[in-house]
Amino acid sequence: MPAPQTEAVPEPGRIVLDARDVARALTRISHEILERNKGARDLVLLGIPSRGVPLAERIGAKIAAVEGVEVPVGSLDVTMYRDDLRLKPARTLLHTEIPADLDGRTVVLVDDVLFSGRTIRAALDALTEIGRPAAVRLAVLVDRGHRELPIRADFVGKNLPTSLVERVRVTVAEIDGDDSVTIQERGGS
């Protein structure tokens, strides 16, 4: 089974956000979600695997700390809904866990990097088959631009103008051992 990439080799690259920057960004996103939603009522957080899930859990914990309300947190695998499914070898499915009935609630999708927007398109398709939320919002840790679809994020940790030859790499403690965002020149890996 393809394990999550946990190679500990420190790849060369420019660190854009360190662990404390990531924590601050998530705190701000949590507050913005609460402000926009006027509280934690009817919120559901869905992380997109693999790294969106721990980010969603942390946002959920921060919201619980501020509002004293447990917000349902789950995960939404979009593999089956990707538009490039036929172009690549069969992909491993990741875990989907819908923690609550989505009908009439506000769903906040959480992902690490917003790039072409195709993953989010797939996530929106997946959501329509699971329920009918009152609204769907998008929170990302990094928005690196280069959108290929008319999709934008509602809550952004950091806007990171990049060139297409660069790679943005996000690590999270739960999967990779530490929190960071780095920019690498493509070609190294």
Binding site: Y81, L85, A90
Partner: protein, 321 residues
């Protein structure tokens, strides 16, 4: 994974565990309001059934439809197959129709292998039971059911679990596929049958054999009962059904000797009163109905892994690579 699923022996441990993990995600779909995924939209799956098998066919049909594939059912009765058409001509017809996967059930052992390796078709071939040879998706769904009951935590395996397969092993493709797959997954398999119903060469399977059901039951984590396939029997394999049932049938008394966590399985169709008594079949330990549910999830996983990728562009020379 390879392009075809012909034998449980084709699956490495990684392949088999990938199927089980994928099936676990597919099974969660059963709890959703819309039980459909778009992964195989525009693909065509042909169910080619030379032998009657309603349960396997509808299981594959449900699996393909839940993945949004188009399904064509082709059964021997009432088609050109009963008019004397050869396997080759049937295959060429399917190829001309543009099938992406062919699910084959055939009375002759090796027919799916012939279909896959003859160059007649470029589609993926899934063996849905050939003669007395193999039935790999049944073995996968059995392994998946055991996995869910005996290794509930993620990442746990069937290593060291003991599985007793009891009954007409000689005529059972399920037994052979299970023996192969369960050993790949690390389980210990014991085949229990009267000497007349164990196949020649069973000693090369790498499994234990026993003639004594009562000695095996207290150690087993899983008991899998097999149907006595009287339609494949010509000759006497045991004196009377009653004697068979007394020595190799699972009844309430025998079930009481099982360990507390042990489960009872049956690939179906079962004959109550013969290899399994009604009170056992309906007991809490019986996971027979769950096996059917799991069958759809496992077949979805197999079709997804065989068909969703891109490397199904036919290679001009052979596809064993």
């Amino acid at each position: 994974m390879k392009r075809h699923l012909l034998s449980a022996a084709d699956l490495s441990r990684d392949d088999a565990e990938l199927v089980l993990a994928t099936a676990a995600e597919m099974r969660a779909l059963a709890d959703r309001p819309i039980k459909k995924l778009p992964a195989l939209r525009g693909r065509t799956v042909v169910n080619l059934f030379f032998e009657d098998s309603t349960r396997t066919r509808i299981s594959f049909e449900a699996a393909a439809k839940r993945l949004s594939a188009d399904v064509i059912n082709f059964s021997a009765k009432g088609s050109s197959l009963s008019k004397g058409e050869s396997l080759k001509d049937t295959a060429l017809t399917l190829e001309a129709m543009g099938a992406d996967a062919v699910v084959v059930r055939h009375g002759a052992s090796g027919a799916p292998h012939r279909l896959a390796h003859s160059g007649w078709v470029h589609s993926s071939v899934v063996n849905a039971g050939d003669g007395t040879h193999e039935h790999p998706t049944q073995a996968l769904l059995d392994a998946f059911t055991m996995w869910r009951h005996l290794a509930p935590q993620k990442g746990q395996s069937l290593d060291g679990h003991r599985v007793a397969v009891v009954g007409d092993v000689l005529h059972s493709r399920v037994a052979r596929s299970n023996a192969l797959l369960l050993q790949t997954l690390g389980a210990e398999v014991t085949l229990v049958a009267p000497p007349t119903l164990l196949p020649v060469g069973v000693d090369t399977w790498g499994v234990e054999t026993s003639y004594d059901l009562d000695a095996v039951l207290p150690k087993a984590d899983v008991v899998m009962m097999l149907r006595v396939q009287r339609e494949r029997m010509n000759g006497g394999f045991f004196p009377t059904p009653r004697e068979y049932s007394r020595r190799y049938g699972l009844d309430g008394r025998r079930m009481a000797t099982l360990q507390d966590h042990a489960i009872v399985m049956h690939p179906g169709p079962m004959v109550r009163g013969m290899e399994i008594s009604a009170d056992v079949a309906d007991s809490d330990r019986s996971v027979i109905v769950e096996q059917v549910t799991n069958g759809v999830a496992v077949r979805m996983a197999v079709l997804y892994l065989l068909l969703s990728g891109s490397d199904d562009t036919p290679t001009p020379e052979g596809d064993d690579a």
